[in-house]
């Protein structure tokens, strides 16, 4: 096999991959996880996988793994202390995120695929935390607002 032929085939293969990559972002959503519905949309807990919430003396850390092709609204993240009840929490520290503009909602901040970390500063321990979040798939579908209640055991930092 001459080197010119090999060079040509390598060149073509690389270009083929490049061309096909144009179609891959959408297809990748189909491959993410094995519990996809027939229409390819992930279950909400796969799209926005809330990780174990950690509580230390000074803060609570909540993290989500956001699947490719999905995003969470940062300005719709809400944290409330259920126990002790009525405790006002300080605003969560969030990444800056990506600014988007919508005709109906105005400006919003979102976080697309990857790890999202929210840190809530604490002045006293929280035993039960309510978390609310809401997100969408980039194909133009949105999930209902989600509410999770987490029992926390403070860990020594």
């Amino acid at each position: 096999m001459d080197t010119e032929f090999l060079r040509l085939m390598t060149h073509r293969a690389a270009l083929l991959l490049l061309a096909l990559s144009a179609a891959l972002p959408v297809q990748a959503k189909e491959l993410w996880g094995n519990a996809s519905r027939a229409d390819g949309l992930l279950a909400v807990d796969q799209a926005f996988a809330l990780q174990p919430v950690l509580s230390t003396a000074g803060k609570i850390t909540a993290q989500w793994i956001i699947a490719p092709g999905y995003y969470l609204y940062l300005d719709r993240l809400q944290f409330a202390s259920l126990e002790p009840a009525g405790l006002t929490l300080k605003p969560a520290r969030l990444p800056k995120g990506e600014r988007i503009h919508d005709e109906h909602f105005g400006d919003s901040s979102i976080q697309r695929q990857g790890l999202l970390t929210a840190e809530i500063p604490l002045t006293q321990a929280v035993q039960r935390l309510q978390i609310r979040y809401q997100g969408c798939a980039e194909i133009g579908v949105c999930y209902p607002p989600q509410t999770r209640v987490i029992s926390l055991t403070p860990k020594t930092p």
């Binding site: 073509r12 179609a23 959408v26 519905r37 390819g40 969408c136 798939a137 579908v141 999930y143 607002p145």
Partner: protein, 179 residues
Amino acid sequence: MNLKTLRNSAWIAVVGLAAAYGGYWYSQHRGSAAVSAADAQPAPDFSMVDLNGKTHQLGDHRGKLLLINFWASWCAPCLEEMPYLVEAQNTYGAQGLQILGPAMDELDPVKKIISDLGINYPVFQDYTQVDTTLKALGNTQGALPYSVLISRDGKVLETLLGGLTREQVQALLEKYIKA
């Protein structure tokens, strides 16, 4: 440019166009399911009370082309497509189109959207009724927007997950309004 380079470029263009078309086709057909009229299954019955207190059941709309559009105020794609549904109700209502708008939402934001967008079809907000109907019509995750087109004889013609453009709404209704 020699002949080999030209041939390579043409080959690359063909592959690129095929890939782009494949991606486009997929994006246009995502989340929608159409069936032939012969294979259409009867729609499950439902019962929802609209904001004016009127009860709507499937049988009440026999003889109409029924488009049930599930929406919510927190769903940007829902709000983007709803003006096209208002237009469609105006355009095709006399030909037998009836749109219903069950909302997965609280009452105040629903009322505001009805006013802001001039919604001209019945809207529903009772969570239990709406959620039950949504699931019965095949959407178990609550992801929106979700539309179900039901024939004049009560069969499910299409289910559509995701927002529709004005052109898509028109094409959908033109396809079925005279059937």
